[in-house]
């Protein structure tokens, strides 16, 4: 069975979830987890799956955040991106002479993705060929990136503009930059998403014969400044994110080695009927999911829809207590083993001898200290 057929079977009789920059960026957040790798490669709807298995995910998006994001973007792009141009000129000191603006959203009423992508490619290639200082903003370009053997269409709401023969990816986010500082996790997410676009843009231009230097590794991040709605732009170096993404994408190419280890009949199909109700029994689904090993850490609670499922599975392991705690416990895997080694009721295997000694010393100190529980 080919890998693709295998992944299709795992996903079941539904179309695959579309990747976007956010989901591709999320591939870097826990690369060691086979469960996530398989599900992402197969395009499984993790949110639905978790709910069916009895562990609905805690994620949701507040509409206030969505409206604010849209409003900010609309404001920055209004009037042919007047605000943005001012920002690039004044804020970043970039000399932008004449600017032309191209909206690539609709192609004469026909919005097929292949066509839009083709138009994007031809326009960007022409801009690249025309040389430096063509100063063009491209709105709604449609890019493409190979992910796990498939071509994924990426529609950034960003604008790529060209300066000195280099394209810059522009990313608009609605979290605030206050006195020059912004939330580090949010900036990291924005940087990784920008890196996805940089990769896709480089791939596109490579197809036209241009080297990777045609796309700058500095993305322009546009955010509201302080407590107002006025935008501010900062350059963000995404070279590290590019390296990480490239490595992870190439690992995804090798998903077949993972898929081969799975039982051939494995499927996460939810058996959804015409009314949209899922009929797959939860117990059976759980068993199926568990055949693919996971690598749960508490950080999953903030980043993966399967988190509650995997956390429940990981109850009683030291990994569920966090990486640092697991390290401090000498990398012993389960809580019961830790306690058994600590009070001497469990005979340590050869490789556990040192961990056992350490845990016994710790237990003794806790016991003997007045006020410490025995």
């Amino acid at each position: 069975m080919t890998t693709e057929a295998r992944l299709d079977r795992i996903r079941g009789a539904v179309p695959p979830r579309n990747h976007n920059a956010r989901t591709i960026a999320a591939l870097t957040s826990n690369p060691g987890c086979a469960r996530r790798a398989i599900m992402d490669a197969a395009g499984v709807d993790k949110q639905r799956l978790a709910a069916c298995a009895g562990f609905p995910a805690p994620f949701g998006q507040s509409q206030f955040a969505i409206t604010r994001g849209n409003a900010f973007e609309a404001q920055v792009k209004a009037n042919g991106c007047a605000e943005l141009l001012r920002l690039l000129r004044e804020g970043l000191g970039l000399p932008i002479p004449e600017v032309s603006y191209d909206d690539l959203e609709e192609v004469a009423g026909n919005t097929s993705r292949e066509l839009r992508h083709a138009r994007t490619r031809s326009l960007l290639a022409r801009a690249a060929a025309s040389g430096a200082d063509a100063g063009t903003l491209f709105d709604h370009p449609l890019l493409r990136l190979a992910v796990a053997g498939q071509q994924v269409y990426l529609e950034p709401d960003l604008i790529a503009f060209q300066l000195h023969g280099q394209f810059h990816v522009v990313e608009m986010k609605s979290f605030a930059v206050i006195d020059g500082q912004a939330d580090g996790d949010k900036v990291a997410a924005a940087a990784t998403q920008s890196a996805v676009y940089v990769l896709a843009l480089r791939e596109l231009l490579a197809g036209e014969g241009y080297g990777p230097d045609s796309v700058s590794h500095e993305a322009v991040l546009v955010c509201p400044e302080n407590f107002s709605n006025a935008p501010v732009a900062t350059l963000v170096d995404v070279r590290k994110q590019l390296t990480v993404l490239r490595r992870q994408l190439s690992r995804l190419e090798r998903i077949d080695s993972l898929a081969e280890l799975l039982p051939p009949g494995l499927t996460f199909d939810l058996m959804i009927d015409e009314a949209g109700v899922a009929f797959r029994p939860a117990a059976e689904l759980t068993e199926a999911i568990r055949t693919v090993p996971a690598r749960y850490v508490p950080e999953c609670l903030a980043s993966c829809e399967m988190c509650y499922f995997c956390r429940d599975e990981a109850r009683g392991t030291t990994a569920a207590l966090g990486r640092d705690v697991r390290d401090d416990l000498g990398a012993v895997e389960t809580v019961s083993a830790v306690l058994g080694l600590a009070d001497g009721t469990l005979t340590p295997a050869d490789e556990q001898a040192e961990a056992a000694a350490m845990l016994q010393a710790a237990a003794r100190l806790r016991r003997e200290t007045p006020g410490g529980a025995a």
């Binding site: 949701g60 006195d179 508490p298 569920a320 207590l321 640092d324 809580v335 710790a362 806790r366």
Partner: protein, 508 residues
């Protein structure tokens, strides 16, 4: 390496209830703290939505912004909040106490007590900082004028948030931080940021185990998030329609009033459970006996409060947006010293905390079996041998130069003093000689050399430049009173250098 706390977590999992990791309370809890629970609107830069605030568990006050995107309403919120918070804070300026100073200096005056603000979690501290930033530069005149109380609120909030970064300070505390300092739950530190879950582990309701209570706490309907981030489902299903209704209704109409009441009721329902949790947390902390050095650290907080109150009264400028180079360097130095001193103080106050250092070999405890007299400048003149009524010495940073109590100061001798300390596991029969002022080389189980400036780093325990290591202070950890035999003929008299003390070996 905090193997003991990690083990405590494992024990908590097995016993289904949080385990203590401290025997005393390391934070000051005021008699009259102000609990502040803020809520912010999603997607905006710290746009306040509501706050529940008060210093009495039975009387929470609610301040709500009915149209959170309306900037005038935001500043009206700030003014209303200022009425409560600034009123609370400035009430502490009236009562003063006199501190006798050292020789040659005038006694100085400082506030007898300082305010204490409690927020649910570290994100709450972030909210206070940002709210302070967005209000302290506002003006009460000119274009975009605001109520005069607003910039005052901003400066107090900024003061509190800056002080919160200072290790050992208790003026602004996050409840989850304070609780996690004393108890290890059976979940991960990430999950401990959920106040309801953490309290579920520490103090589960009758009939429930810790994990059951924590699991129940994750249901946002029963236990709404402690903020400032709101639950997205609440936002979409309850909040958005209510805000919309407020906006739609005309000014001053009955419809507007009804819409506003409905909004307030919904927000209050989100905040009230957390309000209860906060006071439960306060109660749990109060039940612990305070550590010996907590009061001294609170004195430092009182000093800082007094200084800032003076600064405001003298009409000083608001805190700058970013630190200058010199201010940053100075602040970093203070923080590093404070961190070192705070760590040492907690270890000296609390045997469970000290046990962590014993585990890594950075401290040891033993009985002095012999003493060679002769002071070393590092330990101060008095640290020679263990007299019968000896008490724990403070570390150099703990006492701020205070002389150790109950040990008379002898005449200086030429060479460094040495203490022979019996340590080691039962039956091991090893003794270590801790040379005063230098780290013991054959110190005891796992004792390692400690380095001076630029020493190597363990994750989470990196050393700054040149601070005396705990081992130096540990040399002062002469045994507690009960371990040294009562005064007998062989008790040492520090003034007679030839005397020796004999003590029983302490087995472990």
């Amino acid at each position: 390496m905090s193997t003991l706390t990690a083990l405590a977590r494992a024990q908590a999992v097995a016993r289904r209830i949080a385990q203590p990791v401290a025997t005393v309370r390391h934070v000051h809890v005021s008699d009259r703290p102000l609990v502040l629970i803020p809520l912010a609107l999603a997607g905006e830069a710290n746009a306040p939505l509501a706050a529940m605030v008060g210093d009495e568990p039975g009387s929470p006050r609610l301040v709500v912004v009915h149209q959170p995107r309306n900037r005038d309403q935001r500043f009206a919120f700030a003014a209303a909040l200022a009425g409560i918070v600034v009123g609370y804070v400035e009430a502490f300026r009236s009562a003063v106490e006199t501190i006798p100073s050292g020789q040659g200096r005038e006694p100085r005056v400082r506030c007898a007590d300082a305010p204490q603000v409690l927020v649910p979690n570290p994100a709450g501290i972030g909210f206070v900082r940002l709210l302070g930033r967005s209000t302290r530069f506002r003006r009460s005149y000119g274009e975009y004028a605001v109520d005069p109380a607003v910039p005052v609120l901003g400066r107090w909030l900024t003061f509190l948030a800056e002080r919160a970064e200072y290790p050992g300070s208790c003026l602004l505390l996050a409840a989850t931080d304070a609780l996690a300092l004393h108890w290890a739950s059976g979940q991960s530190p990430v999950e401990d940021l959920n106040l309801a879950a953490l309290l579920g582990w520490i103090d589960p309701p009758a009939g429930m185990t810790g994990p059951e209570a924590a699991a129940a706490a994750e249901d946002p309907v029963l236990w709404p998030p402690a903020g400032p981030v709101t639950d997205p489902t609440f936002d979409n299903e309850v909040l958005a329609p209510l805000i919309e209704a407020c906006a739609r209704a005309g000014d001053g109409t009955g419809a507007r009033r009804r819409a506003e009441s409905a909004l307030e009721a919904a927000v209050s329902a989100q905040l009230t459970p957390t309000w209860g949790l906060m006071w439960r947390g306060v109660g749990l902390l109060r039940a612990l006996p305070p550590g010996g050095r907590v009061a001294a650290r609170w004195d430092g907080d009182k000093d800082a409060f007094t200084r800032h109150a003076e600064h405001l009264r003298a009409g000083g400028p608001p805190q700058p947006r970013r630190d200058s180079a010199v201010a940053a360097a100075r602040r970093l130095d203070w923080m590093e010293r404070a961190l070192a001193s705070y760590a040492v103080q907690r270890a000296l106050d609390d045997p469970l905390v000290l046990a962590e250092y014993r585990m890594t070999g950075e401290a040891f405890v033993g009985i002095v079996t012999a003493a060679e007299p002769g002071p070393d400048r590092r330990l101060g003149q008095a640290a020679q041998a263990a007299p019968a009524d000896h008490r724990h010495h403070g570390g150099p940073s703990a006492g701020r130069g205070r002389r150790p109590a109950a040990v008379p100061g002898p005449a200086r001798a030429e060479r460094a003093g040495r203490l022979r300390v019996a340590i080691g596991p039962a039956g091991a029969g090893r003794t270590g000689r801790a040379a005063a002022g230098r780290p013991g080389r054959r110190g005891g189980p796992g004792a390692v050399r400690r380095d001076g400036p630029g020493a190597h780093a363990d994750p989470g325990q990196r050393s700054g430049g040149g601070r005396p290591g705990l081992l130096h202070d540990a040399v002062r950890l002469l045994p507690a009173v009960r371990d040294v035999p009562a005064a007998r003929g062989d008790a040492v008299d520090a003034r007679r250098p030839a005397a020796r003390v004999r003590a029983r070996r302490r087995g472990r």
